[in-house]
């Protein structure tokens, strides 16, 4: 009867949760009941629980006045001896210590409880006390804390140790004095006290490497009881190994390895985990760790299986061979009911498995793809991508799989990962191109992500025209014009124009389609269509190449700045495109770097953007120097600074070369590593016999210790012979030395001249050339035409392979490889490399280099086309 009545009452209250819909004001009102005497523990306990529940829910913010009032009412409860009520009050103090004012009022009451006779109260009282105390208050309770740490009651000792650790965040200098007590507590027979004491001890001494080393060697012998303490000790030991880089030789490593035989699974796993994450371990040294993880794979506990397979997955990234022994166990996990475990098992297998097992694995993955989270799906996609690069012959299976994943539901990140993967595979494997493009076409038919649709349309425009049957893509592209938003329509128009420009037989149809787009409702789409129709109707290859297929090659930031300048200073001269700095990296190319570890869920790096802005930064810095103001636009800055000194000498000097149309500026970044010297009037004197004239030195006024400074040297390029572009400069650092006080940095008044000889600086052809990506090399080749063509044949006897030759040619000429021709297909004995760039002064430079492997090395036929005859000359003479 009693039960029934209660049920009914609860139903009326709503959902049987008495704490549901608590109202802040009511609860705070009720808290006044704490002030009544005698205290009713049951009632007050209920109210206090409500208060705690409300704070815990966090929906209703309690103001500090309200909190303070409730807090003071709560302190009245110290009069009650009821244990539950008292303990709830401690929690209340902790929870409200952040919101209420004057909480230190309860210090003395808590101190009484902390030192009292009732062990039940002492631990929680210490923890509550430490949550309200600060550095100044801490000194007055220090004595009691020290006693508590070594108290024989475990709960008290643990509470004191843990609180000390919290306190050391703010009052390290006080807690430091408790080392001896902590030391004593480590030998406690309670496992938790031991763990907490070890943690505190390490924390207090962690900056003293010797003390930490001693700590580990002492406790690794004297066997600890707590598995947690063991885990901590393993972590300390592996940190030491990493810091000191002692590798597997040290005693620490032996200790970690011995932990693999500990009786607790926690410790075994911690040890295996530590060994696997250590730098520079060999597959052989990992074997014992891998074999314990293998055992864990068949454990009935999901957490243990998860931990094991996750760690094995990590091993497989570095040492796939070490994991092959576990393949059988991993295969059993593919059907695991925990999908995370199954996914990890499969991606591990994909890394370690052989080509023959791929088909079967793919089938198994597809059976549960729908059940796992997007995060794991991305892991799978990346695993497939790397697998496809590893076994190019399997691309058919993988492509089908990826395309079926594209059709399924999924978020943007997931779809993006798939599209990225397909694009990477297409670019890497020409056999997969057609299938890949077909899948992508199908995808954009029903794609809600504008970013992906425009990206795919761009890819179609680039790759589609060069496939055997370009006409089949037109339908997909034109559908976009009819169905999509403005951004996608504009991208589709551009893609379509590219088909028209590249394929003569499609030209007329494309023009018809584009003319229809001239009536589009969006400005951008209309403008693009009109522009393309006009260009296409001219029917000139050169125009097609310059305005449709290859587009602008300038840095967008630079263009913006140049145009801004132009509008500020109106002149009659038309705006000259050649004054705009070129994009250092092709803007169109946004491949994610291949070779990225799968499982590494990071977004594609914005390296392209950085590269272009770096040169912009230089341009800005240089134009700020009055002497360099009228040199014209900066053409190129060398990307990697050249070291002109050994790394550990008195002065460190790095050189960056900036090329202008008729001058070069050498930027010397100098660092003074001597703390008892100040250098003044630092210049780098340069001498050359190759017709270069040094025009001006801009000294670095003062170079104090460890503060980098910059000196510049301006050089005029030889004008009488335009093909003379290379040379060598001997450099000397000249400066006035003044001794100074290493502590204050104050320099003497007197100084003396000194010199320091630096390494030579070379100016090479590459310094005069800016890399430019031509997405359609053939079109550009025809555009430039054979007027200034030069051809020569070289025997490169020092090159042993085609890859070597390709790498070296790119380096010598400083041009951008196009059409992915920098990758030599395996097993071929001949290869053609296409390079493109712009020479100083804005002349296009294109190079076709046919390479053939012979017995005595590599033979090369080099053909150069350029808009300027001298440029062709220079480039041909650069090799040789």
């Amino acid at each position: 009867m009693h039960m029934l009545r209660r049920d009914k009452k609860e139903e009326e209250e709503g959902g049987g949760n008495p704490f549901n819909n608590l109202d802040k004001t009511t609860v705070l009102q009720e808290a006044r009941l704490f002030n009544e005497t005698p205290i009713n523990p049951r009632k007050c306990g209920m109210i206090l629980t409500k208060l705690l529940y409300m704070i815990n829910q966090g929906d209703q913010t309690i103001g500090s006045t309200e909190a303070t009032e409730a807090f003071f009412a709560m302190t009245k409860l110290f009069q009650s001896k009821d244990p539950t009520l008292r303990r709830l009050m401690y929690m209340g103090i902790k929870d409200m210590s952040k919101i209420a004012n004057d909480v230190i009022i309860v210090t003395s009451s808590l101190m009484k409880d902390m030192t009292g006779r009732d062990d039940q109260f002492r631990g929680p009282a210490i923890r509550a006390l430490c949550s309200i105390t600060d550095t100044t208050m801490l000194q007055s309770i220090e004595r009691y804390m020290k006693q508590a740490i070594v108290d024989k009651c475990h709960a008290v000792a643990s509470a004191a140790l843990v609180s000390s650790l919290h306190l050391s965040k703010t009052s390290m200098d006080i807690t430091k004095r408790w080392v001896n007590e902590a030391q004593e507590a480590v030998s406690s027979d309670n496992i938790m006290v031991q763990y907490h004491a070890l943690g505190l001890l390490h924390h207090l001494r962690k900056h003293d490497k010797l003390a930490v080393t001693k700590l580990v060697s002492r406790f690794s012998k004297h066997s600890l009881k707590s598995p947690y303490a063991y885990c901590l000790l393993i972590r300390i030991a592996s940190k030491l190994i990493e810091d000191e880089d002692t590798g597997t030789e040290s005693q620490m490593y032996d200790f970690i390895e011995s932990c693999l035989r500990h009786k607790s699974e926690i410790v075994i796993y911690e040890a295996a985990h530590a060994m696997i994450n250590m730098k520079g371990v060999t597959a052989k040294e990992l074997a014992p760790a891998v074999s314990v993880l293998q055992l864990f794979c068949s454990s009935p506990k999901p957490t243990l299986r998860f931990a094991a397979v996750r760690t094995l997955n990590r091993v497989a990234m570095k040492h796939p061979a070490a994991v092959t022994a576990c393949n059988l166990d991993l295969e059993n996990l593919i059907t695991d009911s925990n999908r995370s475990i199954a996914t990890l098992a499969i991606t591990t297998l994909l890394k370690t498995g052989s080509e023959s097992s791929v088909d079967r694995l793919m089938k198994q993955i597809s059976s549960f793809m729908s059940e796992i989270s997007d995060e794991f799906k991305i892991v799978v996609v990346q695993a497939i991508q790397s697998l496809c690069l590893k076994y190019p012959r399997k691309h058919g299976v993988m492509m089908n799989f990826l395309s079926s994943m594209l059709r399924e539901e999924g978020g943007f990140e997931y779809k993006k990962a798939i599209v990225d993967s397909i694009i990477t595979i297409i670019e890497d494997n020409s056999e997969a191109k057609e299938a890949g493009l077909a899948h992508l076409c199908e995808f954009i038919e029903d794609c809600e992500h504008t970013v992906l649709a425009t990206r795919i349309l761009h890819l179609l425009g680039r790759e589609g025209p060069r496939t055997p049957t370009p006409s089949k893509y037109i339908r997909f592209i034109y559908n976009r014009v009819i169905l999509e938003n403005a951004a996608v329509r504009a991208a589709a128009v551009t893609a379509m124009a590219k088909f028209g420009a590249h394929c003569d037989e499609l030209l007329d149809s494309c023009v018809v389609l584009l003319e229809r787009c001239e009536l589009d409702s969006d400005d951008e789409v209309r403008d693009r269509a009109t522009f393309y129709v006009r260009v296409l109707k001219e029917r000139q290859k050169a125009l097609n190449s310059a305005y449709i297929l290859n587009g602008l090659q300038v840095s967008v930031v630079g263009l913006e700045r140049a145009l801004h300048h132009y509008t500020l200073e109106p002149s009659d001269k038309p705006f000259d495109m050649k004054t705009v700095p070129l994009a250092t990296q092709p803007i169109t190319e946004q491949r994610t770097t291949p070779g990225k570890e799968p499982g590494d869920i990071s977004t594609s790096k914005p390296s392209d953007k950085l590269a272009s802005s770096r040169q912009d930064v230089y341009a800005e810095q240089l134009s700020a120097i009055p002497e360099f103001a009228n040199l014209g636009p900066l053409f190129k800055s060398s990307s990697i600074p050249v070291e002109l000194t050994e790394s550990e000498t008195e002065y460190v000097v790095r050189c960056i070369k900036h090329t202008y149309s008729r001058y070069m500026v050498f930027q010397f970044d100098c660092t003074n590593t001597l703390n008892d010297q100040v250098l003044e009037k630092v210049t780098v004197a340069m001498e050359s016999s190759d017709g270069f004239d040094v025009m001006k030195y801009i000294p670095c006024a003062s170079l104090p210790y460890d503060t980098p400074g910059t000196a510049y040297t301006l050089v005029r390029l030889p004008e009488d012979d335009p093909t003379n572009v290379t040379g060598t400069f001997s450099c000397t650092l000249k400066f006035i030395v003044k001794d100074c006080d290493p502590n204050t940095g104050e320099a003497d008044d007197e100084g003396y001249d000194d010199e320091y000889v630096l390494e030579d600086v070379d100016v090479v052809v590459g310094d005069h050339v800016q890399k430019v990506m031509k997405p359609n090399f053939g079109a550009s080749w025809d555009e430039v035409g054979p007027d200034n063509e030069l051809e020569d044949t070289f025997a490169l006897s020092t090159m042993k392979t085609l890859e070597d030759a390709v790498k070296n040619i790119i380096q010598y000429l400083g041009l951008q490889p196009c059409e992915r021709s920098d990758k030599v297909p395996e097993g071929k004995s001949s290869h053609t490399l296409y390079l493109a760039g712009v020479f100083r002064g804005g002349h296009d430079a294109l190079v076709r280099s046919k390479l053939a492997m012979t017995d005595s090395g590599v033979t090369m036929q080099l053909t150069v086309r350029s808009t300027d005859p001298n440029v062709s000359d220079v480039l041909v003479s650069a090799i040789g």
Binding site: L48, Y53, T84, R235, Y269, E270, P302, T303, F306, A307
Partner: protein
């Protein structure tokens, strides 16, 4: 990728939670600033719940965190730690918490029972983890510290099922005793 070597520290737990079968918070403690506001915490809880309430799989990597969980009837217990944390340590915390709650509620792990004993559950949570440091993982010691005397509650307030269960247990032990005496 970031370093997988763990900084040796006692701070191993990032959060402990109990949610109900709609993913609402019954109690939750966060020990660091990863989710600074209540709103962010609750969104995290909702998302975590929607990922875990169907499959009883015990562990999941979620939003860059390792989450271990257990559920019973209408209660979901979670312990959250860093992605590099030893999963087994987190699992041991979860188990200690779950078992402690189970003992406090006398094996009757249900939302209603939990709310009836909310004070004791709060105290148990407080005894297991203090500011992210594991304080105690021994169930019996936690329960003894929380100090709820099982005889406190009058029989009328125990549910019928509990009473039947305890009766059954008595019968079982009696049976066992007879069996053993026969075997001897």
């Amino acid at each position: 990728m970031d370093s997988h070597i763990l900084e040796p520290s006692l701070y191993s737990v990032k959060a402990i939670m109990i949610l109900d079968n709609d993913g609402n918070r019954l109690m939750a403690k966060y020990y660091d600033d990863q989710f600074p506001s209540t709103k962010e915490q609750k969104t995290f809880e909702k998302n975590l719940f929607s990922k875990t309430h169907r499959a009883n799989a015990e562990i999941i990597m979620f939003e860059g965190l390792t989450c271990v969980y257990r559920s019973n009837v209408d209660l979901f217990f979670y312990v959250v730690g860093s992605v590099n944390e030893n999963e087994l340590i987190l699992a041991s915390v979860l188990n200690a918490f779950y078992e402690a709650v189970s003992q406090i509620l006398r094996r009757n792990i249900e939302k209603r029972a939990l709310l009836e004993n909310l004070d004791a559950i709060f105290l148990a949570m407080d005894e297991i983890c203090d500011g992210g440091i594991i304080l105690d993982c021994d169930t019996s010691s936690i329960v003894s510290k929380v100090a709820v005397k099982s005889d406190d509650i009058p029989i009328g307030e125990q549910t019928v099922s509990q009473q039947i269960k305890s009766k059954l247990e008595v019968i079982q032990t009696a049976k066992d005793q007879i069996k053993w005496s026969l075997l001897k």
